[in-house]
């Protein structure tokens, strides 16, 4: 079976031109695979490069070398060398990303923020909003907030809106960057449930989670990022 994500020998260094051009090696030789129905958790101390790897897999950070193979509509595409519009296509129909922070568009209602990924893929607005409502309800966002833009919500509420937006699509790959960081126990449990459902649907996931208990509950495999530490 072909892996959904196949990262081979990926390297990343930041060159900080404003700080006299110092080179900041981030990761090197990153190699791992993720199959369908599997959740791989990246582990390692803060600053080891976990988020950077996730961003490389999403095509948000560029790689200096190496390969980010993504199974996209039956073929494998290398995001490290793909054209911008190919990357956008991959994001629209293959890879979802749940970041730690919600980047809210001013004025857009919460329900539409959540429904948007479905609408972009052609689902009628009312159906998309219904699914968005179901997910918001599960994540304990009260219905009276749905028509408000999330910009003024608390950190935890914003993160749950972000999770709803990330989990609403039926994309075959999901990347999760600390999805439970500012959630209470009840909402953490909902996220664990959502991850389990995605696995049953065959979704391949890569996650960063600091909470040991959550990691234990969702991880099928752990990839230790310290082995990719770039030689400084």
């Amino acid at each position: 079976m072909t892996a959904m994500i196949d990262v081979t020998d990926a390297n990343k260094t930041f060159t900080m031109h404003l700080q006299g051009g110092i080179e900041l090696p981030v990761v090197s030789g990153v190699t791992f695979q993720v199959n369908a129905s599997e959740c791989v958790v990246l582990s390692g101390p803060s600053g080891a490069g976990k988020s950077s790897i996730l961003k490389m897999v999403f095509g948000n950070y560029r790689c200096d070398s190496g390969r980010i193979g993504i199974r996209h509509r039956g073929a494998v595409i290398d995001l490290a060398s793909a054209e911008p519009r190919q990357i956008l296509n991959v994001r629209r129909s293959t890879i979802g990303y749940v970041s730690q922070f919600l980047r809210a568009v001013p004025r857009v209602a919460t329900i539409d923020v959540v429904a948007e990924p479905l609408i972009v893929n052609g689902m009628p607005r009312t159906d998309a909003q219904q699914r968005a409502g179901n997910l918001l309800r599960r994540l304990n966002i009260p219905e009276r907030l749905w028509q408000l833009p999330p910009a003024t919500f608390s950190g935890g509420e914003q993160q749950r809106v972000n999770i709803a937006r990330g989990f609403i699509s039926d994309l075959p790959i999901l990347l999760l960057d600390e999805p439970t960081a500012s959630l209470d126990a009840a909402n953490r449990a909902v996220v664990v449930e959502l991850v389990a459902e995605k696995k049953r649907q065959g979704v391949a996931m890569v996650a960063i989670v600091h909470d040991d208990e959550i990691r234990h509950l969702i991880a099928d495999r752990i990839v230790d990022v310290t082995s990719f530490a770039a030689a400084a």
């Binding site: 404003l18 095509g59 948000n60 950070y61 001013p106 609408i119 972009v120 052609g122």
Partner: protein, 265 residues
């Protein structure tokens, strides 16, 4: 909405090849090449004097290039060199298939005639002659850009800055263009008005599957609206790519400076 297959297999709408422009000894634009696909939003960013606006004028045929050329795929599917277009084709582009949203709405609107006439005029230019239908369509478009239709008979000089800008957008989009050029469309508006306009632009662009080339010095505008970005400095494109890649992982010293110069709110 966006047809996936069409998006992937489609031919570029506009192709710029080695575009250059000099004003005397000053090279305002040097060797710019790129392709724009249907439905794609490209932001051109850079500081004042970097050549952004010159490039926009070259691309939209308002300024003749000193070197290089621009080709545009007409509705019949054939790509044509802009410089070789006949008068009728050129008129078709300006009046129908292209839009141009200026920073100053007074440049894109007729300030003394009614809002309805401003929108209707573009339709009459392409042969609409049924007054009732023109007015109905104009009124629809005012609603889409969130202008109270009770103001349809008022001239834009009685409008606020934000309303004028929204009217200019309605006037441009009423003919269902495939490509819209925008020059700092949110410049000069206060922030709350800006946010509303950006949100409106963002949804219209997606709904109509518009291709857009937008010049802005505001990286937040580029992030919100564009798929791709080109960073200009001294008339050259120094860095280009997916918008979030360029803004989150800038490579060139100048791009890093731009990104790090944003004041947090």
């Amino acid at each position: 909405m966006v047809d996936q297959a069409a998006l992937e297999n489609d031919q570029p709408l506009l192709v710029a090849t080695s575009l250059s422009k000099s004003f005397g000894r000053i090279a305002a634009c040097r060797d710019v090449s790129f392709s724009l696909y249907p439905g794609e939003v490209l932001a051109i960013v850079g500081e004042s004097g970097s050549g952004k606006s010159t490039l926009l004028q070259l691309l939209s045929g308002q300024l003749a290039a000193s070197g290089g050329h621009v080709s545009y795929r007409m509705r019949d599917g054939v790509a044509r060199d802009l410089a070789s277009l006949g008068e009728a084709e050129r008129r078709f582009l300006y009046r129908t298939d292209w839009g141009f949203v200026h920073q100053d709405p007074a440049q894109g609107l007729r300030m003394a005639v009614s809002a309805g006439a401003n929108v209707g005029e573009r339709l009459m230019a392409v042969g609409w002659n049924h007054y009732g239908r023109i007015r109905e369509t104009a009124s629809d478009w005012l609603t889409r850009v969130e202008i109270d239709t009770a103001r349809i008979d008022d001239a834009p000089r009685t409008y606020s800055g934000g309303m004028r800008q929204r009217l200019q957008i309605a006037r441009n989009l009423v003919t269902e263009p495939r490509l819209v050029f925008m020059d700092e469309p949110t410049g000069g508006l206060d922030v709350s008005v800006q946010a509303r306009l950006l949100d409106l632009l963002r949804s219209l662009v997606a709904e109509l599957n518009l291709a857009v080339i937008i010049v802005t010095h505001d990286l937040a505008v580029a992030r919100l609206l564009s798929h791709r970005v080109m960073v200009m400095k001294g008339g050259r494109v120094i860095e280009a790519g997916l918008t979030d890649q360029v803004l989150d992982d800038p490579r060139e010293p100048y791009t890093q400076l731009l990104v790090s110069s944003i004041l947090p709110p």
